[in-house]
Symmetry: C2
Amino acid sequence: MKCKYWSKQLFDLVPYTPGEQPKINDLIKLNTNENPYPPSPNVAQLLQQFNIGDLSRYPDPNSALLSQALATYHDVEIDNIFIGNGSDEVLAHAFMAFFRQDKPILMPDISYSFYTVYCDLYDIQATPIALKEDFEIQLADYATPNGGIIFANPNAPTGRAICLAEIEKLLQVNQDSLVIVDEAYVDFGAQSATALTQKYDNCLVVQTFSKSRALAGLRIGYAIGHPRLIEALERVKNSFNSYPLDMLAQASAVASIEDDEYFKRSLQTICATRAWTEQQLTSLGFKVIPSKTNFLFVAHASIPAIDIMTFLREKKIIVRHFSKPKIDNYLRISIGTEQQMQQLINQLQAFL
Amino acid sequence: MKCKYWSKQLFDLVPYTPGEQPKINDLIKLNTNENPYPPSPNVAQLLQQFNIGDLSRYPDPNSALLSQALATYHDVEIDNIFIGNGSDEVLAHAFMAFFRQDKPILMPDISYSFYTVYCDLYDIQATPIALKEDFEIQLADYATPNGGIIFANPNAPTGRAICLAEIEKLLQVNQDSLVIVDEAYVDFGAQSATALTQKYDNCLVVQTFSKSRALAGLRIGYAIGHPRLIEALERVKNSFNSYPLDMLAQASAVASIEDDEYFKRSLQTICATRAWTEQQLTSLGFKVIPSKTNFLFVAHASIPAIDIMTFLREKKIIVRHFSKPKIDNYLRISIGTEQQMQQLINQLQAFL
């Protein structure tokens, strides 16, 4: 279906495939790492009270109230914050702003699969660095000349985290290029590099409201870094779309930040459910990669991942599988509610 | 504030400057062509009843319900529709998808100033074509070899429209490249080229919910064209951000389309207010360019635009001025409510 009106760079572009969002009743959806709990009741209240007449006005192009709320929350300045339409947009802008370099960028061979799509989109060369055994990222392997470095911490789809000391070491030996730490899942138990952005001007941290804050439906992501890095992102954003976040998303994000107690409580619940699920899966013969995220990456000792996935799907439980070398016998299972995970374990027990 | 971590293409990038959104009470804001009336009450009802728990899920990446509603509304098929986060994002994707060509693209020398910013962002060459006297776009001037053509109809900031027969002629003589018709303001009285997209595969129409539908605060734009053109846009979008529109924006847009009576009534009111304002301004000595939009582009016979703008600002009325050759003695005045335009005229009478 290509045609002569296309820019020729599009012909070989292979877009990212998001996890499916099936419209099936009573589905237990454990395939896209969404939060099983609703966002803070503050968000509901805000929407109830929102003055609809305001929607005819453009939103604040700079999301200033949200930037300030995030700056306060992370103990940084407002000019350390960049806001985007989900962390996917923030990452896309960052690839364009920083990674169009003469040398290839470095990234783990197994990580968020959108990274290589951005490279194709912006004609960026990338060198994949193999994960170690058991899917560990070894940052010592990244200390070679490069046009930039990106990795997710904790990594996806593996769930493994690396410690801050390792990241700081990398920032020190890699001062000629930017290091992006994608912290989409950091709130579920890993250490954030946010503090390092105040010490190193080559560190950009990216976070999202889609997982821990249960606002995937509203598309809010952000970056934290040195003001010169933020300025580059603003320059790209303002050459692309001045108003990336709508009014309701901006206001809801602020409402979420203001309810820290609810946030922490729901994180605790999810982490407790993760621990229980890990234990159950292990006793069912699964190998479970240690997770600091809201998902588990698991492989069964004897039954192929595809067979398990197919069986679960018949039982209306959806998990995610990646047809990629090294990980094609693994399943990524999002942490749902206690009840949902109990149903998952019940079904697996029956199957195995 | 540039730094070594930037991609070098950013160094000379000059971003678009959106109209200001000042936080001043009792301001009469006539500078960004927003709709002075609220969106359909259907939108308010929808937000009141929205199940907040749904926000923890990703939105439909394809905005299928909204695409279908737009297809029905415009009497086209769903695969003729592409949805984006405001028409700015749709335009940005279109520039990337279609205009990275060997030959320069053509556009009016006076038009939406974001077009040249996209060109800089994606390294696209553009040849400006001068407007005729009184700011008319003469499409006969565009029948030269080119990598694509874009113009706004009605044009901004002039407000002038061209007729469909002229556009159809251009599509016929320009079959080697794509023609984008940016119809942000078309609902206020111009003829839409939507029907031409069903006849010509080199025509892409772009529209928005930000003006006529009073939903600037929610960021909804779309394109209509041949499925092969839509596929190109999808390919870029899915290599950039799978989920451009949040749940509330998608649902609100559908709610707006469903209330056609309210939509038509508010358009009529705005057009009537425009006619009244035009008459008043003319009798005050202004030259008023014939407008098919929700704004008027005006110059006074004897008083410089800057002086008028400065005076109005002191009176808490904000209008827009562009410091550009040919139009720097003009002001662009959005059509507000009847009462707001009465206050504008009162102030101008006092000043002149």
